[in-house]
């Protein structure tokens, strides 16, 4: 049995659902799924991970007293070595973007981020390049293989198993020259864009910062994330972290609503893999209208309040 390491992430005390898609993609008869959980109590997570075929949970406990990417990456490498893991899969999430390259650098191992297809036996993956304009097939060689998956590319399927939980204490080397002073959260990042199933993004048509409230009002009913085009960010209406596109976040939701967004090449680079795209724009000739699944030629200031009302009355 080849052990496959899964770097598990949590949000609000729960395992991020995209991890289960990751486990589903990694599962095969000749493989053992090993969940690596860093500085989070793994007992709660055990049952959820078992449901998706994980048979070993490595509960890594570092002495870092909270988030520390340098220490956490070193601990993951040590846990991989201890458990004979040469293949590690994580998400191309904010945490994954910090930890996976650090792990790959330490091991001098190949790494491909944002994989949309993974063949663990052939060490061959697909990922987008040139701002989503091409799909590259990349083969990796080496003694270790690190993969960053794009969230939501594989739908989770349950495959119940029983897992053992192993504690793995880790003490960091001193004098690394890297120190965490603090982590500040302002609470605005309640839903991370890259892993959201539904995203409602606003662009130039929103006109100002206050009008983004219309998007947040709709998003609340759907547990959706709110994104933005570069124009909205450059105008200072919303923070950069909300930007979808080539120089922003690349997203892969089930539904992407582009509201008052014309649809530049650079914006498409960030959202073109969305399953269903709904565009709302007053300009019937906007690029997004020709490359979406549903379009509304209309005024967002009429449609969004109506949509909010309709969503509020949906029984679920």
């Amino acid at each position: 049995m080849q052990p496959i390491g899964l770097l598990i992430e949590f949000k609000g005390g729960q395992i991020k659902p995209a991890n289960f898609g990751m486990a589903t993609a990694a599962r095969a008869e000749n493989r053992q799924l090993v969940a690596l959980v860093v500085d989070t109590p793994a007992n709660d997570a055990k049952a959820a991970l078992e449901a998706y075929g994980v048979t070993r949970v490595v509960n890594i406990r570092t002495d870092s007293n909270g988030w520390n990417p340098a220490v956490h990456a070193a601990a993951v490498v040590a846990a991989m070595q201890e458990n004979g893991i040469t293949t590690l899969i994580g998400l191309t999430s904010p945490t994954g973007r910090e930890l996976l390259p650090r792990v790959a650098a330490r091991l001098d191992a190949p790494l491909v981020m944002d994989c949309i297809d993974i063949d663990l036996d052939a060490h061959r993956v697909k990922t987008s390049q040139y701002s989503g304009k091409t799909i590259a097939t990349i083969s990796m060689t080496g003694s270790h293989f690190i993969y960053g998956m794009r969230a939501n590319v594989v739908a989770p399927e349950e495959a119940p198993a029983a897992a053992e939980v192993i504690d793995f204490p880790f003490a960091a080397d001193q004098g690394s020259g890297f120190e965490v002073i603090e982590t500040r959260t302002d609470g605005s990042g309640s839903q991370h864009l890259a892993e959201s199933d539904i995203i409602i993004s606003g662009g130039r048509g929103l006109k100002n910062a206050e009008n983004f409230k219309l998007l947040f009002d709709c998003a609340r009913h759907l547990n959706a994330a709110v994104g933005a085009s570069r124009v909205a960010v450059d105008n200072g209406w919303v923070p950069y972290a909300m930007q979808v596109g080539q120089t922003g976040v690349k997203v892969n939701p089930k539904v992407y609503m582009a509201v008052g967004i014309s649809g530049s090449i650079q914006h498409f680079a960030g959202m073109k893999t969305a399953k269903t795209v709904i565009a709302i724009n007053t300009d019937a000739k906007a690029a997004i209208m020709a490359n979406c699944d549903y379009f509304v030629v209309g005024d967002l200031f009429d449609i969004l309040p109506a949509l909010e009302k309709a969503l509020a009355s949906v029984k679920r």
Binding site: L111, V112, I138, E179, I278, A306
Partner: protein, 255 residues
């Protein structure tokens, strides 16, 4: 105390990319400096202007045409540059080795900047590998930096609403994020001055780089297909809202 800025020569984000052969692109398009590297240079110039750095050196691994990006870097404030010449595409495992070797040979770094990722290969990893080779601390997606002789205090945007503050001892590697600054685009006199600044060319093949046991090779490159058939939703605002709810519920099944 030198600041090194690693830059990459990449296709313009608006360029049309055509695949040639199995795994290459038609290179007869507009090429520019990777956008994140512009933030890195702007910040390096700001730190130098505050009297904290001696020299800014731009470093690039690329084909001979990458000299254009180094000229841009010098127009944006680099004092001189190093082009590690090659005639091939290289993965980040080789790139990091080449950059590390060139910097090590050139001088004593204080801060080494990179962009947080490149917009062509989108690998998101060279800065980490570079730091590992040089044995230095690294932070990425840096949106604020305070530098002193002992090191830097950086703010990194991990995700919307989450900022990590790190202290790194100098020398260190900083991956510039978009929120770091507004790039200082060069004026005409800057461009004229940059033509007189030196570009040192070194051959990748002549660098003392250990052959890595690992690698990432692009086997195939295909255009990403976009085929959506747009359908119009019409009616009153309430009608349209009802249709959208129906799509969310019955087609996308997200409600």
């Amino acid at each position: 105390m030198n600041i090194y800025v690693c830059v990459k020569h990449v296709p313009d984000s608006a360029a049309t990319i055509t695949v040639e052969g199995d795994n290459a692109i038609n290179e007869k398009i507009t090429w520019l400096m990777n956008p994140y590297d512009e933030h890195a240079l702007t910040e390096a110039a700001r730190i130098k202007a505050a009297g904290k750095a001696v020299e800014i050196v731009a470093v690039c691994l690329g084909k001979p045409a990458a000299e254009n990006t180094l000229r841009s870097a010098m127009a944006m404030g680099a004092d001189r540059s190093i082009l590690i010449e090659t005639d091939q595409y290289h993965d980040s495992i080789i790139t990091a080795r080449a950059l590390a070797a060139a910097i090590r040979k050139d001088g004593t770094p204080w801060i080494i900047f990179t962009g947080k990722e490149s917009i062509d290969s989108e690998g998101m990893q060279t800065q980490f590998r570079l730091a590992q080779h040089l044995g230095l601390p690294v932070a990425t997606n840096v949106i604020k930096i305070n530098a002193d002789s002992g090191g830097v205090t950086v703010e990194c945007e991990r995700e919307a609403g989450t900022i990590d503050v790190y202290r790194m001892a100098a020398p260190c590697v900083v991956g510039a994020g978009k929120g770091l600054n507004n790039p200082n685009y060069p004026t005409f006199p800057d461009i004229v001055r940059s033509r007189k600044k030196p570009v040192k060319r070194i051959d990748l093949a002549e660098q003392a780089i250990d052959r890595p046991a690992a690698g990432m090779q692009i086997r195939e490159l295909v255009p990403a297909v976009e085929q959506r058939t747009p359908k119009a939703l019409a009616g009153s605002a309430a009608d349209i809202a009802a249709q959208i709810v129906d799509i969310l519920k019955n087609e996308a099944k997200v409600i």
